[in-house]
Symmetry: C2
Subunit: 193 residues, 2 copies
Amino acid sequence: MDFWFEFASTYSYIAAMRVEREAAKAGVAINWRPFLLGPVFASFGWSDSPFNIYPVKGAYMWRDMERLCKDDGITLRRPSIFPRNGLTAARIACIAADEAWAGDFVPAVYTANFARDEDISSWPVLEAIITELGHDVARVRERALSPENKEFLKSQTAEAADCGIFGAPTFSVEKELFWGNDRLAHALRWATS
Amino acid sequence: MDFWFEFASTYSYIAAMRVEREAAKAGVAINWRPFLLGPVFASFGWSDSPFNIYPVKGAYMWRDMERLCKDDGITLRRPSIFPRNGLTAARIACIAADEAWAGDFVPAVYTANFARDEDISSWPVLEAIITELGHDVARVRERALSPENKEFLKSQTAEAADCGIFGAPTFSVEKELFWGNDRLAHALRWATS
């Protein structure tokens, strides 16, 4: 099952914290697929998160996040800046996925943003995570910022749009899309049926 | 628990078909609260359903409806006109709620629209449903179209906006909102905790 996520996305935080555990229970392997929502939102004429453009939706979302995180035992501290730019983190996540450590890196970045209000667009924050996970910062940085990897993230973002993905998180099983953290169980049922 | 619905809303169809059965299992009473999404969407600058404004969302929604209806044993026939105007049906639903037959009327109207592709904005279709349910059409029509009832639906729509409701279906338990058919179980847990 493909797990499509964007680091700025709040509901992707909860999904990122649950997906590996739930998928393992169901016996389903996860492909971590970082992408950027910016181009999708731009195609809708949005230059900001819909939760900022439509404040009534934003108010609901933050309250809902609070309830869901409490239920799932996930710490939530509303970021002082929302949405934060997740471009660099997404580039690193492409490398982490390629090297099979996305399952550690992705939840760590979400936790920095949504539990500790750290600026995940800054290198020091990302470096600390990479180091903590035992990887060589210089090597990862070089791979993440290489022209090939920048192109890879662009093409993965284009692939998301081509698949009909318009929000995050989205779970996909072949051509079937399941949008939203609350559809994880449905996606896993589909993957195993 | 309050069940806020709009007759044009696709996911409200599934919710309307499930809510009474699921609420009964949980021992929760339902208040049927028809309202209009038009004024909410107008406040967002939308003059049509977001599923028409953003076709990629629409494509996802129809495929998702297909899967969900199949799982729940609910017939779905994509309406030839979408969204259909639910104003008159909503006015009648206010009366049905007042007279405690909304639990029969509301699912019947949704079924006409989403399973039989009938024009629920037309009187003959609504009359047939009222008659089938054993109510006097002339009496219901008079109450539904009275100035008091028109005002009541307006004020209920305003109340929805005041509560922070921005989509349908929404379940509310005191000040807590749960948006979407897929949040019914969460709303019921909240109502009984």
